[in-house]
């Protein structure tokens, strides 16, 4: 059993080495990839997910005709 596990571990190491060796000179297999190759969209999927109430508009906080704000954004 122990020798079988040892062989499996050794096989794994050899396999890993081969994969790394094969990919080292191959631009088509970029994993692990560098940060510059990151293609995850950041803005595209999120551009329209916010909305304001078009009927009320922005107001001054001291406006007598409007209810007070419930929160403030603060500043980071």
């Amino acid at each position: 059993m122990a020798s079988a596990l040892g062989f499996a571990a050794l096989f794994g190491l050899v396999t890993q080495h081969v994969v790394k060796g094969a990919s080292a000179g191959t631009a088509a297999t970029p994993s692990p990839r560098s940060a510059t190759a990151n293609t995850v969209p950041f803005f595209d999927a999120n551009a329209s997910g916010f909305a304001f109430d078009e009927g009320s508009g922005a107001t001054a906080p001291q406006s007598a005709a409007a209810p007070p704000p419930v929160a403030q954004t603060s500043v980071s």
């Binding site: 999120n46 916010f50 304001f52 922005a58 603060s74 500043v75 980071s76």
Partner: protein, 302 residues
């Protein structure tokens, strides 16, 4: 609605929940405390600090840290480096080495020359093995983007808990879910000016970046925490404050930070090209808006 407040991630967190769902605040507080414990650069034993101390070798990290770094790198890539999560050495150079609340108001001058950003380009991320390799000289500060992501995550959490309406605001990042009872929108005061504008937010998030709070003296030099990655120095912006509306705090935070560093003219182009809305307070106190930001109605004059 009932208001709850607690301190986390260097900010006061303000949460509005339905009066009968006060139980959800426990989950929100636990989330923020957990994120701070793992992602703060100010805690020497945080997972981020540990990673920053292991340069030049792949390190297996937790899913949370991997996703936060991935988001920071994606934001940097999407902004051509104008958002940069690897400016920690530059922040330390200008004296921002501790939580702002613990910093003295003035620091000794430094002889160290500024260095431009861009180290994020040399980070190696491997999603399959969930490893991060930081190159020598690189150090990550997730600051604002982590707080934005935590706010988004907290809103998602209360939604999954069955809460019908909630607002969470954490030091410049604000996100809403649902609507308050009998209201068409959440009325949110924007920025640091108590006599500023109140906007009716129906859905999405707002983030405000500015230098009205975090600034200090280093020798004779006035410093603030919003750096320009092109120089590594505090951004010489013609803006005092920027608020951006987006679907998430994560995106709004990045856009507000970039817009501030770019200044009014290029910042307007940046927001417009990405379909975002924003409000800028210029150095002279004048304000301008970008995209579908709501127009001001002068109710008292009506």
């Amino acid at each position: 609605m009932r208001a709850h407040r607690f301190a986390a991630m260097g900010s006061e967190v303000h949460v509005l929940l339905p009066s009968d769902r006060g139980d959800a605040i426990t989950h929100v507080r636990e989330l923020f405390v957990d994120w701070e414990r793992r992602l703060s650069r100010f805690l020497p034993h945080s997972e981020l600090s540990q990673l920053n101390g292991r340069l030049g070798q792949p390190v297996i990290v937790t899913p949370l840290l991997f996703e936060a770094i991935s988001a920071g790198v994606a934001a940097a890539s999407a902004t051509e480096g104008m958002f940069d999560p690897t400016l920690l050495p530059q922040l330390r150079r200008i004296g921002y080495s501790d939580s702002f609340d613990r910093m003295p108001p003035s620091l000794a001058a430094t002889d160290e020359a500024p260095r431009e950003g861009g180290d994020w380009r040399r980070i190696v991320l491997d999603r399959r093995s969930r490893t991060v390799l930081l190159p020598p000289g690189c150090a990550i500060d997730l600051g604002g983007i982590a707080k934005g992501m935590a706010t988004d995550s907290a809103i998602g959490l209360v939604r999954r808990k069955g809460v019908k309406a909630a607002l969470i605001s954490a030091g410049g990042d604000l996100c809403v879910h649902g609507l308050p009872p009998a209201a068409r929108a959440w009325r949110v005061l924007v920025g640091s000016d108590p006599s500023g504008e109140v906007v009716p937010l129906v859905r999405g998030a707002l983030a405000t970046s500015g230098v009205t709070r975090r600034h200090w003296l280093q020798g004779e030099a006035r410093r603030h925490h919003l750096l320009d990655p092109r120089t590594g120095d505090p951004a010489a912006s013609d803006l005092r404050e920027v608020t951006v509306a987006a679907s998430t705090c994560e995106v709004a935070e990045v856009a507000a930070t970039v817009c501030f560093a770019l200044g009014a003219r290029l910042g307007t182009k940046f927001l417009t090209s990405r379909g975002l809305a924003g409000r800028m307070t210029h150095e002279n106190g004048m304000t301008s808006t970008v995209g579908p930001w709501p127009p001001v109605r002068h109710l008292d004059a009506a």
